[in-house]
């Protein structure tokens, strides 16, 4: 294949992966919806049963004509499981297609495929999905699917708006630090995303618990404490990686390329803000009065600063890191 063929293949594969992941997202939402239906029916059945038993032994086997039955619950449960499996299979497929797209992009441009905003978005989402799949094997995080997939689809969709054709790098980016610096930033970002997803669901779950018990899909999530724990663990993994990306490899490269390790370029400012915010989160979890809800909100704020650094700083602030186009 020629370079152009690879480039075209990559573009088509990104589009295909986006479509597959959108379907995966729908399936994961359906999994939640049927799951919450199963829970509703289960409760309704539980509420109805004592009455039936009291009504007479003859009717105890036959469910009420219009009311929900445990068969309904099982049907909903089965559908939920089915959609869960579909969602997961599509996620794997979408990941593989996206991986092919990213590799093809690299072949088309004859370099690592993260030299501009479009490439960073597509490769970054590929890392996110890979990380999610690995984490699922290690610690069963499929309950995060709607958030991770939704995020992936939105970012892939938006990445089309900053599309640039495959081509060589500007001289400033032509360095092996591009590999080290950007990969570490993407890995850290993927972890931050998973942490933020877990924090969001943690907040929803604790609110529901406080209001007299989680209903619907919330009740099918892991316990609030274990989601909080997961958020902490991925963030505790990502934070040193982010420190390496933003405060070690970044400054080393900046010294090589621009003659100073740190110059308060907007990208650097926001990388610093993200670092400080996550440092605050890690501290908050150990500080009375900040544990739990406040810490979770802090982690979401920190993730928002990370996202802003990727989107806002690239597009709105002039600076040395303006590689959007």
């Amino acid at each position: 294949m020629t370079l152009e063929d690879w480039a075209n293949f990559s573009n088509n594969a990104v589009a295909a992966a986006t479509a597959v992941l959108a379907l995966a997202w729908l399936a994961s939402v359906a999994q939640w919806a049927f799951g919450s239906k199963a829970v509703r029916v289960e409760r309704a059945v539980a509420a109805a049963e004592p009455a039936l038993v009291g009504g007479g032994s003859a009717s105890s086997n036959a469910p009420a004509v219009d009311g929900p039955s445990s068969a309904d619950r099982e049907a909903a449960e089965e559908r939920s499981d089915l959609f869960g499996r579909i969602a997961f299979s599509l996620t794997v497929l979408g990941f593989l297609v996206l991986l092919a797209a990213v590799v093809a992009r690299g072949l088309a441009a004859e370099r690592v495929p993260w030299g501009n905003m479009y490439e960073f978005a597509t490769t970054g989402i590929c890392v996110v999905l890979g990380g999610y799949l690995v984490m699922d094997v290690l610690m069963k995080v499929r309950w995060l699917a709607p958030i991770v997939l939704g995020f992936a689809v939105v970012v892939l969709g938006l990445s089309m708006t900053v599309y640039v054709p495959a081509g060589p790098l500007v001289p400033a980016l032509d360095s092996y630090w591009l590999v080290i610096h950007v990969i570490s930033a993407m890995v850290a970002g993927a972890g931050f995303l998973v942490g933020a997803g877990a924090s969001v669901l943690y907040l929803l779950r604790t609110r529901a618990d406080a209001r007299g018990g989680a209903k619907g899909y919330l009740s099918r999530l892991p316990s609030a404490a274990s989601m909080d724990q997961l958020a902490y663990r991925v963030t505790a993994f990502s934070f040193p990686v982010w420190t390496f990306a933003a405060l070690i490899s970044g400054p080393i490269w900046a010294e090589h390329a621009w003659g100073r390790p740190w110059g308060w370029d907007p990208k650097e400012v926001w990388a610093f803000i993200t670092w400080v915010a996550y440092a605050g989160y890690l501290h908050a979890r150990a500080t009375a009065g900040w544990k739990g809800k406040a810490a979770a909100i802090l982690s979401l704020i920190a993730f928002a600063t990370f996202l802003f650094n990727f989107v806002g700083v690239n597009l709105f602030f002039p600076g040395l890191h303006s590689y959007a186009k």
């Binding site: 640039v164 054709p165 081509g167 060589p168 500007v170 001289p171 400033a172 032509d174 360095s175 630090w177 604790t206 274990s226 724990q229 505790a236 993994f237 934070f239 040193p240 420190t243 390496f244 405060l247 070690i248 400054p251 080393i252 490269w253 090589h256 390329a257 621009w258 003659g259 100073r260 390790p261 740190w262 110059g263 308060w264 370029d265 907007p266 400012v269 926001w270 610093f272 803000i273 400080v276 915010a277 440092a279 605050g280 890690l282 501290h283 908050a284 150990a286 500080t287 009375a288 009065g289 900040w290 544990k291 739990g292 809800k293 802090l298 600063t305 700083v313 602030f317 002039p318 600076g319």
Partner: protein
Amino acid sequence: MADDRRAPTNKGRGGAAPALSFLETLRWAWRQLTSMRTALFLLLLLALAAVPGSIVPQRSVDQRAVQAYFERHPDLAPVLDRLGAFHVYTSVWFSAIYILLMVSLIGCILPRVAVYSRALRARPPKAPRNFSRLPASATYETEADVETVLAAAGATLGLARKDTVTVTDDGAVVEGEVRAEKGYLREFGNLVFHVSLVVVLVGVASMSLLGYRGSAIVAEGKGFSNTLTQFDEFTSGGLFDTDDLPPFSLTLDNLEATFELDGPQRGAPRSFSATGTVIDAPGEEPRPFEVKVNHPLRVDGASAYLVGSGYAPVIRVRDGKGRVVFEDAVPFLPADATYTSNGVVKVADARPEQLGFQGFFLPTAVSFGEDEIPVSAHPAAANPLLGLFAYYGDLGLDGGESQSVYVLDKDGLTQFLGDDGKPLRLMLSPGQSADLPDGMGSIEFVELRQFARFQFSAQPGVMIPLWGVSIGVLGLVLSLTIRPRRTWVRARRRDDGVTVVEIAALDRVPRSDVAQSVDDLAARLAERTGHTGNDYDTASEAEPPKKDEG
């Protein structure tokens, strides 16, 4: 959630507190400053304070952007300037926050180092009386004696710091416990991380106080020596002495710039490379160098970076008397991506009148019509064209005030006019020359050269923050991954000859797997010592109920 701890402070608010002495007030202030909550608050405040510097242009980053901001917001800019908005990261308020944070940090580290050093010397703590109150506990019974159980426990607990304490009755050991604690490296890592942050701040301060940064334009065939007068721009730290500039010098032989020739990214820069020779210090042998983007030139005590490039047409000017009064490569500064460049020529030696030229240079000139002003289509020099307006009179160089070489002071100058009465416009390609009206002289575009813009800088101590952060990250990883745990194994001989073994664990940082670990420990221990089957769930497994370890 955990707000219950605040309640007592609110209660005490009503009563009149006794007046604090000065010393007590100081101690109170110190406690407040070094509390975790204050540190957290300062940390978040620092993040917040860093935001404006990314929105408002910063002098240290882009001086011209600051000027442009002043022109666009004539009312707002002076107010912002007074607030330090154009130098956020050296402003009083930003400094105040990070100095407070640093004091808070040190105030936090010092006592913790003391506590940690005591903890290192201390023995693992005594077992609590009631194990069932601990987050995880297990128990089983065995016929093995207490000493056997304790020895097995010591072996099973592995690398933890351990103490074994026994109680004897009539020479026989009737009761004893193994106290184990592990995870001391967590606090060690934590302290290393926080100390390294202080090291980083010290390193950054040293860099900015002792370092310097300057830039200079060097045309092909020309040289640069590292003295103050040769810089176009120069800034240095408060403790830097300009006599300490490293005495190197260099000559630029060739600047090579390549650009994308076609395709969607046509005109995009692809590579810049400057080659020449450098003399590290007077008297030393010259050595060849190549500086590229991402590949700076290192000389003793300083580095040179290629930060820009452009064109420097060699211009020769003869005055009215026919003498060559000017011949030099004149840098024209690129103003856009196609290297449309602007420049000025000042000919102070021309007689009878001084001559000045101002105009543009286009590397690949394209004209769309006879009277249209040509534009540059590509940054590479495919069709170089120099366009100049000419002036005569007084260049204003004698006033003693220093003048930018890129600006023509037109106060004492008169513009040459063409035959049509409009300002005279000279268009020159390499090798072409043009006469000025009234026999005032001539100008020739001899040849085209390029120039390199170098940044020269020294950052003494640049490795301090790098090592600081690197070691800090290792400490951070220790503090985030190591989980301290205290484990106790207690064995008590009952009168019926059965030994009751109790196991419990307490995590300093709560973990969800503590119960599982205690069960595992109990199972492994029971396997070593044998067990009677009572009170122990896994007793039903196919293993001999009694297995004494001799």
